[in-house]
Symmetry: C2
Subunit: 361 residues, 2 copies
């Protein structure tokens, strides 16, 4: 998510030519090496490594569940503004990493925090940040085990690493096959809409705190909360890994279309989703029109819902086994490697944006 994009001319060797995902591939191409202990390397939500034990001890290979590791940074004025409630920034910094573990169907266990702190930040600010982070850690059962703190010339830099336990059935981006049904958890677009509302309000830090709890605008507050305090879908991820019918999974951080694109690319398939099937909240239906409408649900990003695919023959069984949990079918995997969005009248809808990518405009 980008808060205040800067506009400068694009130089030929600028990263804007290859984009964030091009850069990740480029780094992987230059830096990856063969390593039997690495089950999944660069390019999925989390890395998966195995810590096998000597066969003499275990009597079998891989007596330990795979270790999941992920890291994500949040930079002031890119991922958050300093006048956001610090508790919310702390919660989010951990939650987005927990979400990456959830996207593999794993159990988050430990975290590390690295902070770059500029002069203008007080002890109280850090205390409140740590409180928010600790709330998320308690909610999801993680222990903070280390990290580092350093001074920063101007902006607050936050980097979090989360370690987790993978099941025997780690869910990857790759694995979707033509005919599979595409599902999402929760509702889409609320976070992007919440950010629009925050940006529009233009409130400063103290007011923001008040606005955040304004009983006069409960719907707005709920949407803002969805942006500030996202809910990683850990329980759902674990259920989806255990149930054994899911063929691929990712969490929605860059927007539905963008992250569906990642599944399609890794699985070498395409997808067709139907706009009128997208799960939208009441708040979204009430307020989104003014702020970009359905585009927010298609490309807004930072929903931190899980997007996954289920074999079509298993769908009936899957639906009955997971009754009571909000999993919504929104389309199907197709052969032709393109992501299509279909309107209620059956026509093809052309989205204005395909989602958020750093180094793209």
């Amino acid at each position: 998510m980008n808060i205040k994009p800067k506009r400068v001319p694009i130089h030929p060797s600028s990263l804007f030519v290859i984009g964030e995902f091009g850069l990740i591939k480029r780094i992987a191409g230059k830096a990856e090496r063969k390593d039997k202990s690495v089950l999944v390397g660069i390019g999925d939500d989390a890395a998966v490594i195995t810590r096998s034990i000597p066969p003499l001890i275990s009597g079998r290979k891989g007596g330990v569940s795979p270790l999941l590791v992920t890291t994500d940074s949040l930079i002031e004025d890119v991922h958050f503004r300093r006048d956001f409630p610090p508790e919310a920034i702390g919660w989010k910094a951990l939650a987005v990493n927990i979400s990456d573990i959830a996207a593999m169907g794993g159990v988050p266990e430990h975290c590390l925090l690295s902070l770059g702190i500029p002069d203008g930040i007080s002890i109280e600010y850090i205390d409140r940040f740590v409180r928010g982070m600790t709330e998320a850690a308690e909610e999801y059962g993680l222990s903070l085990i280390g990290g580092d703190t350093t001074s920063s010339p101007d902006r607050l830099y936050i980097s979090v690493t989360v370690l987790g336990k993978g099941s025997d059935n780690v869910l990857l981006r790759k694995g979707a096959r033509a005919g599979d049904v595409i599902f999402v958890t929760g509702t889409l677009g609320d976070s992007a809409l919440g950010l629009k509302i925050v940006e529009e309000s233009g409130v400063g830090s103290r007011e923001f705190g008040a606005k955040f709890r304004n009983p006069q605008s409960a719907i707005r507050n709920q949407l803002i909360e969805r942006h500030l305090r996202p809910t990683p879908r850990v329980r759902e991820g674990i259920q989806l890994a255990n149930i054994g019918m899911v063929t691929s999974m990712i969490d929605i951080s860059d927007g539905l279309l963008c992250d569906l694109g990642h599944i399609c690319e890794e699985s070498r398939v395409g997808a067709r989703i139907r706009i009128d099937e997208l799960p939208l909240s009441q708040g979204f239906n009430a307020l989104s029109a003014k702020y970009g409408g359905i585009e927010l649900a298609l490309s807004g990003g930072e929903d931190y819902e899980l997007l996954f695919t289920v074999r079509s023959k298993d769908v009936k069984n899957f639906m009955s086994m997971t009754e009571g949990t909000k999993y919504t079918p929104i389309g199907e995997v197709s052969k032709d490697r393109v992501v299509e969005v279909i309107e209620a009248d059956g026509n093809r809808y052309l989205p204005k944006s395909s989602g958020y990518e750093h180094f793209r405009r």
Copy 2:
């Protein structure tokens, strides 16, 4: 290490009142929770977690060696300047984390890289950065398994996480006892002296690259190289863990006195070191006088040498078993909880600085 400290008035709730180490304790106090899987949490060079396997499979508890995890960030204009050779920045970003694993006597295995990239950085710059990092990864046998990239408003932000394998004898900061002999690997002060030489030269990016390889000033280049491309002491760390006579260990990142202070604090002891025993390089002896002299070796920081203690009754044995590796005894652990520096004439030396600490001036 701080490249260009900023001077602003100190606010009562400023972090400068409690300092970096006070802040780390404060965060630990607020965020740590009981967790049996955490053998060592916040406050050592790396965290140590255990991933025990079910007794039915292993026949014993803890069939897997402990997992070591550490994370460290580098921020432009705090830890490096953009006009440093990008290969050196990449090397160093990984090396400082590897050094934390070495300081526990562990074997580094996997790493993750998180990059915040401002507009002014080109693809070529990132390529060169990745090349330097990959060189360090190959040198020390690590695999890059993940990370993330994001845009940054102005400064290059680098955060690295390293995972490693601990032996059955993980070496901690705590464990030193009065009478133990204090040792260091390698030589001290070269890195701080190298930085002084870089800063004095005031050269820009292209010139810097040339200067860096200037055959006319081999000594200067060696010292600069010690700053830009530190050598984590992995082999030494593993040897020291295996040999079983070492009671405590840390790597020297903040300066000899500062890091010795960490050992003393965690072990609840004091220390006495002798200036004329400190191992100094030829280059240091030739050039240090002009730039701060022995203070650079006492408090300069970023040596990434290992500082450790050996039981006095084992010292003779230790010396003969490790012949051929540069381990220099520099003093002893004492009962009274103070770090003393003794001059050649037996008088007490009062250092001007006790080492580098973020949020201190």
